[in-house]
Each structure stands twice: as C-alpha cells, then as structure tokens.
C-alpha cells in the first residue's frame, strides 16, 4: 500500500504538486492521468524518491520513504520509463538481471528468473537473450523494460508513460499483456499516462490530475458516469462516454447464459466472455446480426448476447 499525505512539491516558486492525498491499495493499478505538466510524473518520481517532496508524507506499507535508504527503497520497486533506459552495452539477459545482480542472487537463480520473465513477456529466450537493446524493436525493448522491472519480484511497480512512444498496434498489444501479467502477479502499480483510453483500460482506479491537484480519484466507471468537474468530463470525452462505458463492461455481464455449456467450435474472432460489450456490438453491426454466441476460455459456447440488450443496458 502506498499513501501520500498532504504531499507538495515545489520547483523554485512554482508548485508542481499541490498538497495531494492519495492512497493506492495493495494489488490495485492506480493510473495517474492528466495533460503534460499536471504533476503526474512528479508524483510518481516522489514515490521512489527520485525527487524529494517539499512537504507532506509518503508511506510505503506504512513506512515513511524518507526514513529508508533510497537505493534499498528503489530495489523493491520496479521502474519502467518511456525511453526504456536499457543499458546499450549489456545484452537483454543481463539487462533483465540487473536488480537480481545488485541483490547478489546466485547465478543459477538469476538465469532461471531471466528465462521465466522472458517467457512471461512473450520473448523467446533462445533468440533474444543474447541480443543487444539496439537490435530490438520498440515493443520488444519495452517488454524487456517491463521484465527488468519485474525481475526481483518487487511488490510495487512504477510505470512512467511506458507505452507512450510506441505505435498504436504495439501499444494495444502491450496493454493486453499488462492486463494478463497483472492478473498473474498482482503488483501494486502506479501508472502514469496522458492517454485516457489507456487509463480506462488498465486502471482499477484513476486519479485525474490538473495543475498539481487531484481532481477526481475513482474507478473508471465512476469517472465516466459521474465526472467531478467539466475538466474531467472533457477529458473522458463528453459525447463518447456511452461507447467508453461499453468497452469497460465484459460481455459476461449482459449475455443470456445457456443452462449447460455447449460443445461447439469457437472460430477465429469469436466473442469471448471477457471481451467488451463494445466489441460484441461492433461485430454484430459489421456482420449485421441480431445476436452472437459467446464462448468461454475453453472454447465452449456458454451463452448469447443480443443487440437489443446492449442498446438497452450497455452503458
């Protein structure tokens, strides 16, 4: 758990972060979102003491960060940044092994961990372990960046616009990976982005920031349904909210389940229970259907979802 209590950060006379209070529960993904210069990165960098805070208190698992050794504190927090910051003179494997190495793990344990992480992030250890960062694509490099952050199994993950420099398709892929990995490892994550769609997709709770203050701190659904101010309303896109809400809801919520899962073939592009209602509607509009079958992860047909129900209750 991370608690920020009345935290302020001044740069000279300008106030970058203005007396904010924020509690990030263990295992949740808190996304700080706002336009550039709103203080979101500053807030993140105060948590691992890359920047000192001018006033207030920051507690990690109940302990004041200022009372801890900064290097020790950071070794227990994964850190991912936009430019990856991989060491260009180290191989991928050595980059991932950075923190375990600093913690003086035995070599076999490091090797096993590197292989495990590369597999988790969908990088083939055989082909990529001995490559150098310059030989990777942007998406692969950022996967290595995430693997490096997870290497010593820290409780906390800090991510500063990690996917900001990637193309749309790669970004989307990595967001899906993030969700998958988060389901597996459950890290307390603070994620900074200026992209509200990314925030809605990844967050357990979103903190909307503007001019150094937190305007609203709530779940993605509540941010969309009850924006606290005009600023938040504009940020989430006034008119677009209906569809955005739809993309938050899984098909599971609105489908009519069959009494028994039916054994049938889930073809390419079939709708699954965890897909968004928005995707289901889009498929129906494209194929001009009134309803589509829904499949579970094992490929069994578990129900159907109708166009009418989505229109009535989707948002």
């Amino acid at each position: 758990m991370i608690e920020l209590k009345n935290v302020t950060r001044r740069f000279g006379n300008t106030v970058a972060v203005d007396n904010i209070n924020l509690t990030i529960e263990t295992g949740e993904v808190c996304v700080l979102v706002g336009s550039s210069g709103c203080g979101k990165s500053t807030t993140l960098r105060m948590i691992n003491r890359l920047l000192p805070h001018s006033a207030g208190e920051i507690l990690v698992d109940g302990e004041d960060v200022n009372a801890m050794n900064p290097e020790q504190l950071r070794l227990n927090m994964g850190y991912v940044i936009q430019g990856t910051g991989l060491f260009p003179h180290w191989t991928v494997a050595r980059n991932i092994a950075m923190v375990p190495h600093l913690l003086k793990w035995p070599k076999e344990r490091i090797d096993a961990r590197v292989e495990e992480l590369m597999t988790l992030l969908d990088l083939d250890p055989a082909t990529h372990a001995s490559k150098y960062p310059q030989q990777l694509s942007g998406g692969q490099a950022q996967r290595v960046g995430v693997a490096r952050a997870l290497a010593a199994d820290p409780n906390i993950l800090l991510m500063d616009e990690p996917f900001g420099a990637l193309d749309a398709i790669t970004r989307e892929n990595l967001q899906m990976e993030m969700l998958r990995i988060q389901r597996q490892v459950r890290k307390t994550t603070v994620f900074v982005t200026h992209d509200i769609d990314e925030a809605l997709k990844l967050a357990t709770r979103i903190a909307v920031m503007d001019q150094g203050r937190i305007i609203q701190h709530d779940t993605p659904e509540n941010i969309l349904r009850h924006p606290a101010s005009d600023f938040v309303e504009n940020l989430v896109g006034k008119q677009d909210r209906g569809l955005k809400l739809m993309s938050l809801r899984p098909v599971r919520d609105l489908m009519s389940p069959h009494a028994e899962p039916r054994q049938s073939v889930a073809g390419e592009g079939a709708i699954r229970e965890e897909d968004s209602v928005r995707l289901a509607l889009s498929v129906m509009l494209w194929k001009d259907l009134g309803e589509v079958a829904v499949f579970n992860a094992r490929g069994q047909e578990t129900g159907v979802i109708t166009r009418e129900r989505i229109i009535q209750e989707g948002a």
């Binding site: 950071r74 070794l75 927090m77 940044i81 430019g83 910051g85 991989l86 260009p88 003179h89 952050a149």
Partner: protein, 247 residues
C-alpha cells in the same frame, strides 16, 4: 589477433632502428658528406627511446588520472558548479606554450626531467578532459534515469554504465594527448632531459642534418606505434562494450 599486428610490426621496426641505426651509415653519409660522424653516438638510441617513452607514459598516466577525475567531478551533481572552471583551467594548460612552462619551471625545479614532465602533463590535460566531459555528457539520460530508478548507487551508475559508455570517447582523448606529447617531449632535451630530442638538438647546433633526421624518424615512428596501439585498444573496447557497432 589481427588487431595487434600493426602495433607489433611498428614496434619491431622502432626497436630495430634504435639498435641498428649504424647499419644505415652509408645512407646518412650520402646525405651529409661533409661530416665525419653521421650516426649520433653520444648516447645509445635505445636508452634515449626508453627515456622518451618513460616521460610520455608518466605524464600520460598522471594527466589521465587528473583529467578523468576532474571530468567525473565536474559532471556530478555536487561538482556541476565547477564545470566552467574545470574546463577553463584545462584550456589555459593547453594555450600555455610548453616552452614557456619550461622557462618558468627550470628556475624552480632545476634542470632535468621534472620541468618537462610538468609541461607535458599540463599540455596533455585538455584533450582528455574535454573528451571525458563529452563522453559523460553524451550518455543517454534515460539510461541514467533508469539506473537510478532501479536502485543503483551513484558509484554503481558511474562504473557500470557511465564509464563503460563514455570510455571510448575518453580513450580517443588520451590517444590525442599522448600523440601530441610524444612530439612535445623532444623539447625537454633543451633543459637536460635525455630523450629522442637530443640528436635533433645536437644536429641543429652542429649543422648535422643526419642527427636531426635520426631523432625525427624515431620520434615519428614512436608516435605511429603508439597511435596504432590505441587504434587496437579502441577496437577491443568496441568489441567489449558496444559489440553491435563493431560487427
């Protein structure tokens, strides 16, 4: 091993010439028919070469240590205020003519090796310092940010990231400095530091072009040998720290 071939060949040639200069007597006789002795014989060339080398190595070692330490200090958060001062001091060292340093140092330190060592150290500082600063400033800031954010201490960042990444540029600075100083060291002969400048000075004083030529050839060859040695070192460095660039 092919990397080491040029410096080894050049070094062998240098050694061979230092030992076997008398073999070339007919050639120098032809160049300088009016003199009885055409091979410099007041001191063996090998002894002069050793002394010359010693002067350059000692001044390069001290100069490198001072310049790299200064460069590291001036790029740390605590020393950043001194950055302009440090580069100014080094620039002054470079603009001050070595001959003037000798003239000022001899009354204090007497004749011999000490004044020329000081002149060489001062003269050699700037290229190394300038390259140290350029190399360290050239390290990608995101690398430093990530290293700090992952929990590396300032010392670990310096030795595991900054110096390996800046090393190639620093090495190039040392190469420039050493090559210049091999030539500059020769003026030490004028104040009694025995080195390969001796035949040149003696030749100039006596109007013996053969002497001048012998000293100049050996100094030039020493500079070439050293330069190709650094070339090899830089290749090794590339292989070790930026392998993808060396392929």
């Amino acid at each position: 091993m092919r990397i080491w071939l040029p410096p080894v060949l050049l070094a062998a040639l240098l050694y061979g010439l230092s030992v076997g200069m008398p073999v070339l007597e007919p050639l120098f006789q032809w160049l300088q028919p009016d003199k009885q002795t055409v091979i410099y014989d007041r001191e063996s060339f090998l002894f002069l070469l050793q002394n010359h080398l010693l002067l350059v190595v000692v001044s390069a070692a001290v100069g490198t240590f001072m310049a790299v330490t200064g460069g590291i200090f001036a790029t740390r958060p605590s020393g950043r205020d001194f950055l302009p001062l440090v580069s100014q001091v080094a620039s002054i060292g470079q603009t001050f003519p070595p001959v003037a340093v000798l003239a000022l140092a001899v009354p204090v330190l007497g004749f011999g090796e000490a004044p020329i060592l000081i002149a060489l150290i001062l003269y050699g500082l700037l290229p190394i310092l300038r390259n140290t600063l350029a190399g360290l400033e050239g390290v990608d800031p995101t690398v430093r940010e990530a290293a700090r954010g992952m929990g590396m201490s300032p010392g670990q960042i310096l030795f595991r990231a900054e110096l390996p990444l800046a090393g190639r540029v620093i090495l190039a600075g040392i190469r420039t400095s050493v090559t210049i100083n091999i030539a500059t060291a020769a003026i030490g002969s004028t104040i009694g530091a025995r080195n390969l400048g001796d035949p040149v000075i003696a030749g100039l004083v006596n109007g013996n072009t053969a002497y001048v030529l012998q000293g100049a050839i050996l100094i030039g060859l020493l500079a070439l040998t050293t330069d190709s040695l650094f070339e090899a070192l830089e290749r090794i460095w590339d292989r070790r720290f930026s392998p993808q660039a060396a392929v």
